[in-house]
Assembly symmetry: C2
Homo-oligomer: 463 residues x 2
């Protein structure tokens, strides 16, 4: 378990306490093991990210609390019994672990209820069913009460703090992105016709595991890139296919990387593929150049959308005024999702705390329109934000059929030509950036992204 | 998603219906996605094994029911909306999926409550918190009522049926064990000083993933083999170390493999290592030869324990009468766990249904004694049972200290010599077997297990 210095955690908690008015206790639930097909058969362990942020320790069976009135900070957890040591080996004592994150008060799990009884308890929204069950028992509330009772004051303070990454966080995010870049390079160098998608996933996962890292999310590695969240890996790579790879690894401090590349199974793109690829890449470049403090990410999203429309118009797939097309939502025939999202301890950073607070705020409400409703981040960028930029073009046959039959976007879409692209697939290019006073800096080792750079690597790999 | 023929599922359900008296409905909860660090970031999907056994379909968002009165069988699930298709791609319709497992009645999830209201509902114990929450809502019961309300009649009938593996199940278990054997061979051929434990895990996982398989449980790959459930992979392999590898993969039909090998990081065992290894291997062989219908697995466990004691006495680590030593539990200084367990769709087959029914019965209650309380299977073997055989010797410093200081097992343990083995580590050898009318058959491709066979592979690998 790698940790920042104790001072990092002490300072983070101190900032949080300063940022929250009022009284009561802040409750931090640690994650327990997650069961696969029976209670004691577990997925790999992952601590809750907010717990990691303030208390660092990555292990089940612990929770923590900050008393806003006394200022007291406590980790709850129990040392192992000899029966447990037989199964798990001797482990550091809780007191020793607490010291590593600047906590000198350790209490047993069974004593928790004593600290919350007759107090105003602030807790964050749960995202695993056992969070609800645990809180329901601890706070003696029904499921409904618990699910409605999370503290928006608490979560807003956490979001405010976690949104701005410090220098030491940027360092570990660099590490995550560099490992992620390495995984992508391995795939770009290894893909060839006849391999299965799952063999590509195996390769990428091995690169991560060779660095003692877990993946930050289930990879998308697919010849059907138009399916946005595709976790099917059963297809065989064929000549003429595009392979879309969207994957990432965690750094040693459990921060996430998240990148996407799309490349041909052959040495080169076909003319059709290169044309559309270059449209996506141009939108990627224009969006990156727009990154700077103060600009709304929503505006960069719309700028990218308009760039896509312009490119698609040059090819003849779209028509009419690009600004009007984007205003009408016609670009969502090709770009159905958002341009990017916050990145940090979570790949969609703090998504469990609510996109309406992470990516928006009281004066900027997320749109409910198809396309924009999938944009996780709309608000103005600040120095220290870490975001992904990931434009794409996705040709979804079911969506064509639906919109065509209802005559939707008829002024902006050339449906006749689009039919010829029906089975084209999908393209996405994604990198990670930190916002700086001057603009933005790429995270991680730079990786081939333009069609020329990609073809260069593919030609070397297949020669 | 690979499936048996529809008839397999039809026949399994038919047998179950015949095996349960009374009225009401049998409820089969399918597993949902399991969240990692926010709701929509998921671990790899794993369906519930009992659901797989009777209804085959491996996907979230579905449940099923058998009406004991009308005989009706229903799968509950919803076809995708166009919004969902954008994210997941077009999928087969529920009706089409139902047909693959012999179900022609599909109903929407929202209609479930209609089928359980005012009926006696039999359900199995949950092992994920969302099972409890789901049932609590569906059946309008409190958490406590739901947790106490599972049907022992239902689970006993399921255990009876799932315990006896059919020929087609044996075939897929062979596949799981062969893939598992292949993973072990890769590790045995690849290990060398300087590598990290996590690099070995990465290699094994890659072999599984190259076959589109998931691991059946979190691997144990460790130079501290004395720690029985060790999921730490941070050590570096060193000359003189033993590496204990306990891992398995799932077959394409999601049945589990589970094998263990322990081998030297060098080309050969040291004399001390070979002596203890041969003791474990002898117990392994003697236990295997004892496998046959009718014999209690508890008796084979005790036979293996006695064989270990005899071997340890020859080395001088134990003394006195082996039978008396085992009766006193003195062997648990070295062998703290059970000889094996049932294997099937789960690596500890049906553990979620309760070891007291799977491995024991009303007239054979599991012991509470240290050592025996960890024996998951005690009852008489039957033709078609699939079991693991996994004796071991584990030198646990904390256990030595505790027992030595209290003078425990003083008549059977040579504590002076044992001190010289304090940091020896642990050894386990494990294979999978199906019980046949004549005895038992090894599952999977045979893999080097004796010290000579292992040294042969290690020498070839390191030359």
């Amino acid at each position: 378990m790698k940790l920042f210095s104790p001072n990092t955690y002490i300072n983070r908690r101190s900032t949080l306490k300063t940022g929250i008015e009022g009284s009561g206790v802040l409750l931090f639930l640690g994650n327990e093991e997650a069961s696969i097909n029976f209670k004691d058969n577990w997925y790999h362990y992952r601590q809750d990210s907010t717990f990691l942020y303030y208390f660092g320790l990555s292990m089940p069976g612990i929770h923590a609390l900050i008393d806003l009135d006394s200022g007291e900070e406590i980790i709850f957890g129990d040392d192992l019994t000899i029966d447990q040591i037989v199964w798990t080996g001797a482990q550091p004592k809780m007191a020793e672990l607490g010291a590593k994150v600047g906590i000198d008060k350790i209490q047993s799990i069974s004593s928790m209820s004593r600290y919350v009884t007759n107090r105003k308890v602030h807790y964050l929204p749960g995202y695993r069913a056992d969070h609800t069950l645990f809180l329901s028992k601890l706070l003696k509330g029904t499921r409904g009460e618990i699910e409605k009772g999370s503290s928006s004051r608490f979560l807003k303070a956490v979001i405010l703090q976690r949104s701005i990454k410090t220098t030491e966080e940027i360092t570990t995010l660099h590490e995550a992105a560099s490992l992620t870049s390495k995984m992508h390079l391995m795939l770009m160098q290894s893909a060839r016709a006849g391999l299965k998608e799952f063999e590509m996933v195996a390769l990428a996962q091995k690169v991560a595991m060779d660095h003692e890292a877990q993946l930050s999310f289930q990879p998308i590695v697919t010849t059907n890139g138009q399916t946005l969240h595709n976790h099917f890996y059963g297809n065989t790579l064929k000549s003429g296919d595009l392979l879309l790879c969207d994957l990432g690894a965690e750094s040693s401090l459990l921060y996430a990387g998240d990148m996407t590349r799309t490349f041909p199974v052959d040495r080169t793109f076909t003319t059709k593929q290169k044309e559309l690829y270059d449209v996506v890449y141009r939108a990627h470049q224009i969006a990156i150049r727009a990154l700077r403090p103060g600009i709304h990410f929503l505006d960069i999203h719309l700028l990218a959308a308009q760039t896509l429309v312009q490119g698609l118009s040059e090819i003849g797939l779209m028509k009419g005024d690009p600004g009007a097309a984007v205003a009408a939502g016609a670009h969502t025939m090709f770009f159905q999702c958002g341009l990017g999202h916050m990145l940090g301890l979570d790949v969609h950073d703090m998504e469990n705390l609510g996109e309406e607070y992470v990516g928006y705020h009281e004066n900027l409400i997320k749109s409910t329109q198809f396309g924009l409703k999938s944009l996780r981040l709309g608000k103005a960028l600040e120095v220290g934000y870490v975001v992904t930029v990931e434009p794409g073009i996705y040709i979804i046959p079911e969506l064509i059929d639906m919109n065509k039959s209802s005559g939707k976007y008829i002024d902006f879409i050339n449906y006749d030509l689009l039919e010829k692209y029906r089975h084209f697939g999908g393209i996405r290019v994604e990198d990670d950036f930190v916002i700086t006073p001057e603009g933005a800096t790429l995270l991680g080792t730079p990786l081939a992204a333009s069609s020329d750079e990609i073809e260069f690597i593919r030609q070397a790999a297949l020669s």
